[in-house]
C-alpha cells in the first residue's frame, strides 16, 4: 500500500478538515496511479481511528469511490462505515456506487460492498441491500456467499420483519446445505445470531440437517467449527442412538489446537450425554474429556482461568472426569491469584480418601505462603477437607493445630472458624484441643473468627474450666462489638449460665449481657433475642437449656454443591460467560435467551426430573441485597442454606439415587425406575426436592449468596457460615 512502509506513524498527527479537503482536491491533478489521493485518504483514516471527527469530509471522500483502486475503495468504505449512519441525508449519493460495486467482476469488491451496506442500517440503504443480498446469497463465488450470509444477520438486526418477509431466513436455511464449508458455517452463525434474539425466529435443527453440518465440520475454519458445534445444542435427539452416533462423530474435535473448539466440543458432548443410554460410551467419553481439559492448563493464565471455572462445573456433574488428576491442579507459587483460587476449589472437589494425604500436604504448603487471601482460603480448605473426607480428619486437625501455633493472626482466625465446623461434624471427638484454641483468644480480631470462638466457648462451657473468666473478658467491650459478635456473645452467655448455673460470675454475666442487649442496643434482632432468652430463663431455665443447646443437625458438605437441574442448565453454557460467573446468562445479560435441556423420549429420566424451565423475559429485580446481620434463627429457610441455623430440620442424608426424595414425574415410568438414566454411580448427590423454578436461587445458595445483579467470579465458595 504505502511506498514508505514503516513510516506511517507520521500520519498520526491531527489534521484539520479544511486542510484535508484542499489536499484532496489538489491531489486530483496529475495523480499518477492515485498515489497522492491515497496518501491523503490514509491520513484521514488515521484521524478517524484517533477519534477525530472527519464526517465533514463526507462528500469529498465519497467522490473517491469512483477511483478503480481496491485500496482506495477499502478506505472510502471504512469512512462510510464510520459516518454513514450519521450522514443519513447524504447517503443516497453513495447508493449508485454501492450498486455498481455489487456487480463488480472482483468478488472481493462485491463482498465489500454488501458488507459495508449492511453496516449502515438506514432504510434507504437497507432497501437497496435487500435486492443485492438476494443475488449475493446465490453468487457463484463462495467468498461472496459467506459474506452475504453474515449480512443477513445484520439486516435482521436492523429490521427483523423485513428480513423475514424477504424470505432471507429460508435462504440462510438453504445455505446450510451449501457445498462450501465456510458458507455453511457462516449461515449457521447468522441463524444462531438470529435465533438468540428474543424476538427472533426459533432456530432448531433436525437430524438430517445436523448430520449435514457435521459433514462440513472437517473443512471448516476453526471459527466455523465453533459455530457448527455450538448450533448442535439446537438439535434434540429423539433416540439414544442418535445422540450416541453424533457424539462419536464429534469427539475427534477434542484434539483441535484451538482451545475454544475444544471447549465447545466438550459442551456438546456433555449435552448429548444427557440423551444417551450406553453406559460404556458415556464412560469412554468422560475418559476422553479429561486430557484435553488438562491441556488447556498449559496455555496462558487467562485460558487456564476459563478452563478451571468450567472444570469446576463439569466435575460436579461428571465426577469421573479428571477423577485421578488432582495433581494437575496443584498451585504454583507464580500463578496469578485468580488461577490459584480456582485451582484450590477444584482440588477440594477432587479430594477423596485415596488422595486426601497429597491434597492436605499441598494445602499445608499453601497455608505458609505470603498472599493473605490465598492463605486464608487454603486454611479454610483444610477444614472443609476434614469435613468431607472423614479418614483424613485427624491429620487435618493436626495440620490446623500446627497452623494455630504459627500465631500468624489471619491464619489462626481462619483455623478457628473451620475448627468450629469440625466440632459440629465430629461431635465428641476433638474437643480436647479447645484449651489450645483458648490460648489464642487475643489474636482474634475479626468478627467471624471471634464469633466462632465465642460459639466454641459457649457450646463447650462445661468442658472449659475457666469458661466464665473467658466470657467475662470477651464481653468486656460488648457494646462496641459488631452485631455478629454481640449475637454470639448473647447466646454463649446463656449457654454458660445453663452449664454453670451455680457460678456467680456466670449469673452476673448473663444478667449483664441480657440487660445490654435489651436496653442499650438499637439492633432489633439482638434486642428481640435478648427478650426471648430472658423470658425463657425467667419462666423455665430447663426449657431454655433445651432450646439453646438443642441438638444441631450434622454438618455435611453437600450444601455447597449445586443443584443438579441448575447444573445441567449451566453446562449448556459451558465455556461462556455464564459458566465463568456460574450464573445463567439471561440473569445478567440483556437480551440473552436462556437455555434449558429439551425434553425428548431419549432424555435420561434423572435429568428430566430436574429440568429447569427457561424463564424468558424474567430478569431478577435489580434490588440490592443488603448483607445485614439478620438473626440466625429465622434466616430465609432456603433448601440449601449453607448449614445449621437450628431452625432448619435435619437434611436427609445424601445417598446416591436415594429414590425416596425424588419427585415422581409421569414420564419416568418408562425408564428404569427413578434412578438416573445414566445409572450414574458418580452422581453422589440427591436432587433437592424443591427443584425451584428459579435456577438462580439455587445458585446463590450453592455459592454463598452473591449479589443477584452483579455476577462476578465466585471465589469464596468455601464458606460455612454458621451461627
Amino acid at each position: 500500500m504505502s511506498g514508505q512502509g514503516g513510516q506511517d506513524a507520521k500520519f498520526f498527527q491531527r489534521g484539520k478538515i479544511q486542510e484535508f479537503r484542499a489536499e484532496l482536491h489538489a491531489a486530483e491533478s496529475k495523480d499518477k496511479k492515485f498515489q497522492k489521493r491515497k496518501i491523503v485518504l490514509k491520513k484521514i483514516v488515521a484521524n478517524i481511528t484517533m477519534g477525530n471527527d472527519m464526517s465533514a469530509l463526507f462528500t469529498d471522500v465519497v467522490n473517491c469511490l469512483a477511483i478503480p483502486s481496491l485500496e482506495i475503495k477499502k478506505m472510502v468504505y471504512l469512512f462510510l462505515v464510520s459516518y454513514g449512519r450519521a450522514k443519513a441525508d447524504q447517503i443516497h449519493l453513495v447508493i449508485p456506487s454501492f450498486l455498481q460495486d455489487c456487480s463488480d467482476r472482483n468478488p472481493l469488491i462485491r463482498a465489500l460492498a454488501i458488507r459495508t451496506m449492511s453496516y449502515i442500517p438506514i432504510p434507504v440503504v437497507l432497501e437497496s441491500l435487500t435486492d443485492q443480498l438476494r443475488h449475493c446469497l446465490k453468487d457463484r463465488d463462495p467468498y461472496v456467499r459467506k459474506t452475504a450470509a453474515i449480512c443477513v444477520a445484520k439486516l435482521y438486526t436492523a429490521d427483523p420483519r423485513k428480513a423475514e418477509r424477504g424470505g432471507f431466513v429460508e435462504m440462510l436455511r438453504d445455505l446450510m446445505l451449501d457445498t462450501n464449508a465456510t458458507v455453511v458455517s457462516n449461515a449457521v452463525a447468522a441463524l444462531s445470531e438470529i435465533g438468540d434474539r428474543q424476538d427472533g425466529v426459533i432456530f432448531k435443527l433436525n437430524l438430517t440437517v445436523a448430520n449435514k453440518l457435521l459433514a462440513a465440520l472437517p473443512e471448516s475454519s476453526e471459527w466455523g467449527q465453533i459455530y457448527i458445534l455450538d448450533s448442535l445444542l439446537r438439535y434434540v435427539p429423539e433416540k439414544h442412538e442418535d445422540a450416541e452416533l453424533m457424539a462419536e462423530r464429534v469427539i475427534v474435535q477434542l484434539q483441535h489446537a484451538n482451545s475454544a473448539v475444544v471447549l465447545t466440543t466438550i459442551k456438546i458432548l456433555l449435552y448429548l450425554m444427557n440423551y444417551m443410554e450406553n453406559r460404556r460410551l458415556i464412560d469412554y467419553i468422560c475418559k476422553k474429556m479429561g486430557p484435553p481439559l488438562v491441556t488447556l492448563l498449559s496455555s496462558g493464565p487467562e485460558v487456564q482461568y476459563v478452563a478451571l471455572r468450567n472444570i469446576l462445573l463439569i466435575i460436579q456433574r461428571r465426577p469421573s472426569v479428571l477423577k485421578n488428576d488432582v495433581k494437575v491442579f496443584f498451585c504454583k507459587y507464580n500463578d496469578p491469584i485468580y488461577v490459584k483460587l480456582a485451582k484450590l476449589e477444584i482440588m477440594y472437589r477432587l479430594a477423596r480418601e485415596e488422595n486426601a494425604r497429597e491434597v492436605l500436604a499441598e494445602l499445608q504448603e499453601y497455608a505458609s505462603e505470603v498472599d493473605v487471601d490465598f492463605v486464608r482460603k487454603a486454611v479454610r480448605s483444610i477444614g472443609r477437607l476434614a469435613i468431607k473426607v472423614q479418614p483424613a480428619a485427624d491429620s487435618c486437625i493436626q495440620a490446623l493445630l500446627n497452623l494455630v501455633e504459627t500465631k500468624v493472626s489471619y491464619v489462626v482466625q481462619e483455623a478457628v472458624i473451620v475448627i468450629k465446623d469440625i466440632f459440629r461434624r465430629y461431635p465428641g471427638k476433638y474437643e480436647g484441643i479447645i484449651p489450645t484454641l483458648c490460648e489464642h483468644l487475643d489474636v482474634l480480631d475479626e468478627p467471624e473468627s471471634k464469633a466462632a470462638m465465642i460459639w466454641i466457648v459457649g457450646q463447650f462451657a462445661n468442658r472449659i474450666d475457666n469458661a466464665d473468666d473467658l466470657m467475662d473478658d470477651l464481653t468486656y467491650n460488648f457494646l462496641d462489638e459488631p452485631t455478629e459478635v454481640q449475637l454470639a456473645l448473647l447466646t454463649a452467655a446463656v449457654k454458660l449460665f445453663i452449664f454453670k448455673a451455680q457460678s456467680d460470675t456466670s449469673k452476673a454475666l448473663v444478667h449483664k449481657v441480657l440487660k445490654w442487649a435489651t436496653e442499650e442496643v438499637d439492633n432489633p434482632d439482638l434486642r428481640d433475642r435478648g427478650f426471648i432468652y430472658w423470658r425463657l430463663l425467667a419462666i423455665n431455665p430447663a426449657v431454655a437449656g433445651e432450646v439453646v443447646l438443642a441438638e444441631k443437625p450434622a454438618i455435611t458438605t453437600d450444601a455447597d454443591r449445586m443443584d443438579r437441574g441448575a447444573l445441567d442448565q449451566l453446562l449448556l453454557h459451558t465455556g461462556t460467560l455464564g459458566s465463568i460467573y456460574h450464573k445463567n446468562p439471561e440473569t445478567f445479560i440483556r437480551n440473552a435467551t436462556g437455555k434449558a435441556l429439551a425434553d425428548s423420549p431419549a432424555l435420561n429420566a434423572f435429568s428430566r426430573q430436574v429440568i429447569v424451565p427457561i424463564t424468558r423475559n424474567n430478569l431478577p429485580p435489580s434490588a440490592i441485597n443488603i448483607p445485614g446481620p439478620g438473626p440466625p434463627g429465622p434466616r430465609k429457610p432456603e433448601p440449601a442454606a449453607p448449614i445449621d441455623t437450628a431452625a432448619l430440620p435435619p437434611r436427609p442424608p445424601p445417598t446416591s439415587g436415594s429414590s425416596s426424595v425424588l419427585i415422581d414425574t409421569s414420564g419416568t415410568s418408562e425408564h428404569e425406575t427413578t434412578e438416573d438414566g445414566d445409572g450414574e454411580a458418580e452422581d453422589e448427590f440427591a436432587p433437592t426436592p424443591t427443584a425451584s423454578a428459579d435456577p438462580y436461587e439455587n445458585l446463590d445458595n450453592a455459592f454463598g449468596g452473591y449479589l443477584a445483579d452483579e455476577p462476578r467470579p465466585q471465589m469464596n465458595d468455601l464458606l460455612f457460615r454458621a451461627f
Binding site: 500500500m1 504505502s2 506511517d8 506513524a9 500520519f11 496511479k33 481511528t49 481496491l70 485500496e71 477499502k74 462505515v81 464510520s82 467482476r105 453496516y119 467468498y143 453474515i150 444477520a153 445484520k154 438486526t157 457462516n186 452463525a189 475454519s221 476453526e222 471459527w223 455450538d230 474435535q253 484434539q255 483441535h256 489446537a257 484451538n258 482451545s259 475454544a260 475444544v262 465447545t264 486430557p291 488438562v294 491441556t295 498449559s298 496462558g300 493464565p301 487467562e302 485460558v303 476459563v306 478452563a307 495433581k327 496443584f330 507459587y333 491469584i337 485468580y338 497429597e358 505458609s368 505462603e369 505470603v370 465455556g575 460467560l577 446468562p585 445478567f588 445479560i589 437480551n591 462476578r712
Partner: protein, 431 residues
C-alpha cells in the same frame, strides 16, 4: 457467539488501535478501557487482574465483560456483551497476535503505529464488524493483505503499486485448501521440524516432584512446492498422552494408527502440541527433574536471613544451559550479599525483590553453590516458599520423540527434511 471487537493498548494504557465498534456507542470501548485501567491500578499485582473483567454498563447499555491478555508491553482487549465463550475471545486474541507476529516480526507500540494501515487491513479481514472472525489463516491472509516487508520489496523492484502488483490477486481464496496458498514454488524443497519440550514441575521439600509434566510442541517450517501431502511417522508416539493438532492434520488417521497425515500450510506453523507422560519409568507417571537443589541452610532471622544452596546437575552427558534461579525475598527486602562458586552470577532486583542466581552453563554432574544473606526492613521477613528455576537443554527432548519417516505424495520431488530438539524447564522447588 461473537465478540464485540478488539482494542490494543500501549504500556500506559492508552489505546493504539481498535476495531470499529459499529453496533455500539462510541463510549462502549472507552468504558472497557477505563474499567481495565482502573482494575490494574487498583490491583497490587497487575497480573492478578481478573482476565474476564466484569464491566457494569452505563444506564443505556447492559453489562458486559472485558477479556484481556498481556503481550509484551501491550494489552489486547476484547469486550464481549453476549453470552460468549471467553475462550473464543482469547483464542481470537491469540490468533491475532500470531498474525501480527507473522507480519511484523516483533510487536510493539511502535511497530503497530508504523504499520497502522496494515494492522487495519488485518483487522478488517480477520474480524467483521459483527465480531465474527473471518479469515485468520496466515496463508490466505497474505493473499489479501500484503506484509510490509514483501510490499516494500515488490514496490522497489517493480515500481508499481495497487491492483497491478501480484499480491492483490483477483482470485483470493483460489486455493481449495483454506490454510494453504495455491501455486507455491520453491527451488529447494525443504521442511524443518522443531520439537520443543517444556518441563513444568513442582518439587517438594524432600526433593520428590509433586507434579511434573512435559508439554511438547512440534513447530514446522515448510518450504515445499505445490500441494504436498505428507505422512509423518514418529517414534515413541505411544508416549504422547493427549495431542492437539493444527487443523490440517487428519484426526481420524491419528486416531487409527498414530501417524500424522496432512497437507501443510506454507511457512511457519505449529503442527501439534502434546503432553508427555512416560508409561513405564515410574509408577507415578512423572518425568524426573534433571537437577537437584540442596538447601543446606535457610534461616530467617530478625530483619534478614542467611542461606546456603547447592545446585547439582543430574544429567550425565549434556550441560544445563541458561539456568536461572529466582527467589522472592518477601515484602521489605532491602538487599543481599552472596558468594557464588564458579563463574556464576547473582544479583538482587530491588524492584521485584527477587534474588537472582544465573548460571550460563551447568556441566554434567557438576555442583554449583551460592551462599549469602539478605536484609529486610520487615521484622520477620517472609520470603517465598519456593525457588523458581528455569533452564534449557539443547539437542534434547524428554520424550525422545523422533521422526521415523516422512513420506510425500502428490508431488514428484524429494524434500530435504530436518529436525531439532530443544528442552526448557520451569521448576518450582520448595524449601
Amino acid at each position: 457467539m461473537a465478540i464485540d471487537g478488539l482494542i490494543i493498548l500501549d504500556a500506559t494504557g492508552r489505546p493504539i488501535i481498535q476495531s470499529g465498534f459499529r453496533s455500539s456507542t462510541a463510549a462502549y470501548p472507552l468504558l472497557h478501557i477505563d474499567a481495565l485501567n482502573h482494575a490494574i491500578a487498583k490491583s497490587p499485582r497487575p497480573d492478578d487482574v481478573d482476565p474476564v473483567l466484569y464491566v457494569s454498563g452505563a444506564s443505556t447499555e447492559g453489562s458486559s465483560a472485558c477479556c484481556h491478555v498481556k503481550y509484551g508491553e501491550l494489552r489486547f482487549l476484547s469486550p464481549v456483551s453476549g453470552d460468549v465463550d471467553p475462550l473464543y475471545a482469547f483464542a481470537f486474541l491469540q490468533t491475532f497476535v500470531d498474525i501480527l507476529h507473522e507480519y511484523f516480526g516483533s510487536i510493539s507500540a511502535d511497530t503497530l503505529k508504523d504499520n497502522f494501515d496494515v494492522v487495519y487491513q488485518l483487522l478488517e479481514e480477520t474480524l467483521d464488524a459483527g465480531g465474527h472472525p473471518l479469515t485468520t489463516s496466515p496463508n490466505a491472509l497474505r493473499d489479501i493483505v500484503l506484509p510490509p516487508s514483501l510490499l516494500t520489496k515488490v514496490l522497489s523492484v517493480a515500481g508499481v503499486s495497487g491492483l497491478a502488483s501480484p499480491s492483490a490477486n483477483s482470485h483470493p481464496f483460489a486455493s481449495p485448501i483454506p490454510w494453504r496458498k495455491a501455486g507455491v514454488r520453491y527451488n529447494n524443497n525443504e521442511i524443518y521440524f522443531d520439537v520443543v519440550e517444556a518441563l513444568e514441575a513442582i518439587v517438594n521439600k524432600n526433593g520428590t516432584p509433586a507434579v511434573s509434566t512435559v508439554w511438547g510442541r512440534v513447530d514446522c517450517n515448510c518450504k515445499l512446492s505445490g500441494t504436498p501431502d505428507l505422512l509423518l511417522t514418529l517414534s515413541n508416539s505411544h508416549n504422547l498422552n493427549d495431542a492437539s493438532f493444527h487443523p490440517c492434520v487428519r484426526l481420524q488417521r491419528w486416531g487409527r494408527d498414530r501417524t500424522l497425515s496432512f497437507v501443510p500450510p506454507d511457512g511457519h506453523f505449529k503442527l501439534m502440541e502434546y503432553r508427555y507422560a512416560p508409561a513405564s519409568t515410574t509408577s507415578q507417571h512423572q518425568v524426573s527433574v534433571p537437577f537437584a537443589l540442596r538447601v543446606a541452610t535457610m534461616n530467617i532471622d530478625e530483619n534478614g536471613g542467611t542461606f546456603d544452596l547447592a545446585l547439582t546437575s543430574r544429567l550425565t552427558t549434556r550441560p544445563l544451559e541458561n539456568v536461572y534461579i529466582d527467589l522472592f525475598l518477601g515484602e521489605g527486602a532491602s538487599g543481599a550479599s552472596c558468594v557464588v562458586s564458579h563463574n556464576a552470577s547473582w544479583n538482587f532486583d530491588p524492584k521485584s525483590l527477587n534474588l537472582h542466581w544465573g548460571i550460563k552453563s551447568l556441566p554434567p554432574s557438576s555442583t554449583f553453590s551460592l551462599r549469602g544473606s539478605f536484609t529486610s526492613s520487615m521484622k520477620t521477613p517472609r520470603p517465598a516458599r519456593a525457588f523458581r528455576i528455569r533452564f534449557e537443554i539443547i539437542q534434547h527432548s524428554f520424550s525422545a520423540l523422533k521422526i521415523e519417516q516422512l513420506k510425500l505424495t502428490g508431488e514428484m520431488y524429494k524434500p530435504y527434511k530436518g529436525m531439532r530438539g530443544k528442552s526448557t524447564g520451569d521448576v518450582e522447588w520448595r524449601w
